[in-house]
């Protein structure tokens, strides 16, 4: 099936820079701000966003990684064995403004898990959501505060985000699956 590139390396970079600025604008600065990414690619994006903000403001933002495997509602239904990563949030999230980051926003179920997982660490002041791609087809009342790009898709299509740190390249492609 043909692969269609929908987001290039440069576009990803620009989107991350823009999202970083929007985060600062929305939160009126960096006070009480922390970034938490969902494993694995959300965490990579979280680190990139933090780097952009740190370079702009000379800050050292707290960055955390969240593994949501144990919060999934489809554990007994998925055919593939889940891969478990570690959750690493070594700062207090109490009363912070947390930006939760993931690569693709689709049904919203992953984000629901992410919210539950995050709230088990304490009570943040706010949780905001940043995603690189919003592809639609929500199954839960969840929306993103910061979006790299909206890509209308059909449910037959597969959106794949690749990032340098995990996949040795930066790109977003859409693949038509046969189903």
């Amino acid at each position: 099936m043909p692969l269609k590139q929908v987001f290039t390396k440069e576009e990803i970079e620009r989107a991350i820079t823009r999202i970083s600025h929007e985060i600062i604008e929305n939160n009126k600065g960096v006070k009480g701000l922390a970034i938490v990414g969902i494993r694995t690619r959300g965490y990579v994006l979280a680190e990139r966003i933090a780097t952009v903000i740190n370079n702009l403001y000379g800050t050292k933002l707290d960055v955390g990684a969240l593994d949501i495997t144990f919060y999934r509602d489809d554990l007994s239904a998925i055919s593939e064995q889940p891969v478990i990563h570690n959750t690493e949030i070594d700062f207090d999230i109490e009363n912070k403004n947390i930006v939760l980051v993931d690569d693709v926003l689709y049904t919203g179920r992953t984000i629901r898990c992410g919210l539950d997982a995050l709230i088990d660490f304490g009570r943040p002041k706010t949780i905001q959501l940043a995603v690189l791609i919003d592809r639609g087809h929500r199954e839960l009342p969840i929306r993103a505060d910061y979006v790299g790009k909206n890509i209308p898709t059909s449910q037959k299509e597969l959106v794949q985000v690749k990032l340098q740190e995990t996949d040795n390249e930066d790109s977003v492609t859409i693949e038509e699956t046969g189903e």
Partner: protein, 322 residues
């Protein structure tokens, strides 16, 4: 980022480390690492086993293992039911298999069983379709204890391969020793067992271990020692003169540790008998990881409960013959 190849988990039950591959054990230890982090959180609970029911069926007195399993199941949001045999219909003559089938009919998902007969967990697993976890059967295996020992060792030293581990004490009556030997040797650790002659079971050399009755020899090369409890309440232990005699010859003391490798790790499955197999200075000393073992035990048992619960086709028994 390195992608780790993980084993595909296929086991409905956990009966012993003999039946697991190195990759299976690695998956359990890695998963336990994730669960270990949860135990340090403010809210020590994840919803992974919500709606599942775990039954603790204990035919032998046990506080620490039962409580550890209970805490582990609750941290995973499972419901836990404890059946103490003293107060159950087993007293009225019900067999283990019938009890198991009744628990299955109550729609429980996992039975954690402790029994004084070797092979009891295996038999139960063959006769019910729900998952069975062996929490110690006779002198056979106590897999979760060995897993938590290995987890603690790996956390302390980084790897198990090439590690010199000495197991000291009543090897003959010890399911902890057997499970540890199965597990550690699969990872290429060098295991030495040390005990008075009467407590070395015949045939143990076939398990690929070194045997000695000299405690100083067992300590000389060891990176870690696992000190077993002396079960003096057993009748056949009358063969050994006295607790003091044992302490003099085999007790782990500061003086003996001074001659061992610096930083030697001292483990004990508990409950400890101070002044019998281990001195108080050692049990409470810098080398002791005895209380860390207790905490790690919860994480390891969470990993076991989590993975056996993921096996959906419970009707299909393990390919491995037990």
């Amino acid at each position: 980022m390195t992608k780790k190849k993980t084993a595909k988990w296929i086991h409905k039950d956990l009966l012993g480390l003999e039946y697991l591959s190195k990759e299976d054990i690695e998956l359990l230890l890695d998963t336990a690492e994730s669960f270990r982090e949860i135990l340090d959180r403010k809210i020590k609970k994840v919803p992974a086993l919500r709606g599942k029911t775990v039954v603790n069926l204990f035919y032998e007195p046990s506080t620490r293992t039962r409580v550890s399993f209970e805490v582990a199941a609750k941290r995973l949001s499972a419901d836990v039911i404890n059946i103490a045999v003293e107060s159950s219909s087993v007293k009225k003559g019900e067999t283990l298999n019938d009890t198991g089938k009744n628990i299955e009919a109550l729609k429980a998902d996992i039975i954690v069983v402790r029994h004084n007969c070797s092979g009891a967990a295996n038999m139960l697993a063959r006769n019910v379709n729900i998952s069975v976890i062996n929490a110690g059967d006779g002198w056979h295996e106590h897999p979760t204890q060995a897993l938590l020992d290995m987890f603690t060792l790996r956390k302390k030293t980084g790897k198990l391969e090439g590690l010199n581990v000495s197991i000291v004490g009543d090897i003959a009556h010890s399911r902890v020793a057997r499970s540890n030997i199965w597990g550690l040797t699969k990872f290429g650790a060098n295991v030495t067992v040390c005990a008075p002659d009467i407590l070395i079971p015949p045939g143990i050399e076939k398990m690929n271990v070194k045997i000695t009755d000299d405690i100083d020899e067992a300590l000389s090369e060891a990176d870690a020692i696992n000190v077993l409890r002396m079960q003096f309440e057993r009748d056949d232990m009358k063969a050994f003169p006295s607790q003091l005699e044992y302490f003099k010859k085999f007790g782990i003391t500061d003086d003996r540790l001074k001659k061992a490798k610096k930083g030697i790790i001292v483990m004990h499955p508990g409950p400890i008998n101070r002044g019998v197999e281990i001195s108080s200075e050692v049990a409470d000393g810098a080398n002791s990881v005895i209380l860390e073992q207790v905490t790690n035990g919860i994480a390891v048992r969470m990993a076991v409960l989590f993975w056996v619960a993921q096996v959906r086709d419970k009707e299909k028994k393990d390919e491995i013959g037990y």
